[in-house]
């Protein structure tokens, strides 16, 4: 304080005023702090474990959706068009369906991953809650 007053009285301010710089950098810092804990968007799928649900009851009631290499969708072995899928799923999961709306899914290895996700997405859009991958 004293030094500054002395400087002032001695003549013009010789130090650079860093207050605006401090303001800018602190607000940028806060901005970065806020956006850093980010979020990844994912789709979850369960994997069958040896000796768990796959063998018995669970699979019997869950519809099995297959995507073939040619791009045809099979629901429980029956060829289904993409447009028919909502109706088909509604058959399996009538309104008021109590248990988890679960679907088992198998895809051909030749199909691009993009198309697999697109079909899984379609299932989710139509109310499927869980997808098991076989």
């Amino acid at each position: 304080m004293a030094r500054r007053r002395r400087l002032k009285s001695a003549g013009p301010e010789s130090e650079i005023n860093i207050t605006p710089l401090g303001d800018v950098s602190l607000s940028l810092l806060l901005g970065f702090l806020i956006i850093t804990p980010i979020i990844t968007e994912t789709m979850s799928a369960t994997l069958p474990q040896e000796g768990s649900g796959v063998a018995a009851g669970a699979v019997k009631q869950d519809p099995i959706v297959v995507l073939t290499a040619e791009g045809t969708i099979l629901v429980n072995g029956k060829e289904t068009l993409e447009e028919e899928l909502p109706a088909k799923l509604a058959e399996f999961f009538p309104p008021g369906y109590k248990a988890d709306r679960k679907v088992m899914f198998t895809g051909s290895g030749e199909v691009p991953y993009r198309d697999i996700i697109r079909l899984l997405d379609l299932l989710k859009v139509n109310g499927v809650e869980a997808i098991g991958i076989r």
């Binding site: 207050t19 602190l26 810092l29 968007e41 895809g107 697999i116 996700i117």
Partner: protein, 123 residues
């Protein structure tokens, strides 16, 4: 007037650190993931093991590049302490599904009950 030079120094250093680190942790390994309408938001804070595969087949466990023959051991090592949690698979959209299936098999092999497939939210 208090001397604010030290606080500005600290703030600038922190700022630079965050500017450098943010793009790295934000994207993780850069992968062109498929798009989907229905996605769940997974907070980075959960710190699940991330298995990334780029379109050219380069694989990463968390941020570490791995070869296919060391993948299983590296993944098992990274998965230690995350038992029961899903493994996050970040696959490039152009990969054939069998590559992803192989990864899912490995995840199953190390005991992961489920996988989370990373997708971009469709705009």
């Amino acid at each position: 007037m208090p001397d604010i030079t030290p606080i500005v120094n600290v703030a600038l250093v922190l700022l630079i650190v965050f500017m450098v680190v943010t793009p790295m942790i934000r994207e993780g390994i850069e992968v062109e993931t498929p798009e989907a309408e229905v996605v769940e938001q997974l907070s980075e804070a959960e710190q699940n093991v991330v298995l990334a595969v780029q379109a050219d087949g380069t694989m990463y466990v968390n941020l570490k590049p791995v070869k296919s023959h060391t993948l299983e051991s590296e993944l098992a090592l990274a998965y230690r302490g995350h038992e029961g949690k899903p493994v996050v698979i970040k696959g490039a959209q152009n990969l054939p599904y069998k590559d992803i299936l192989t990864l899912m098999d490995i995840c199953k092999g190390i005991g992961a009950p489920a996988v989370d497939l990373v997708a971009r939210k469709l705009k």
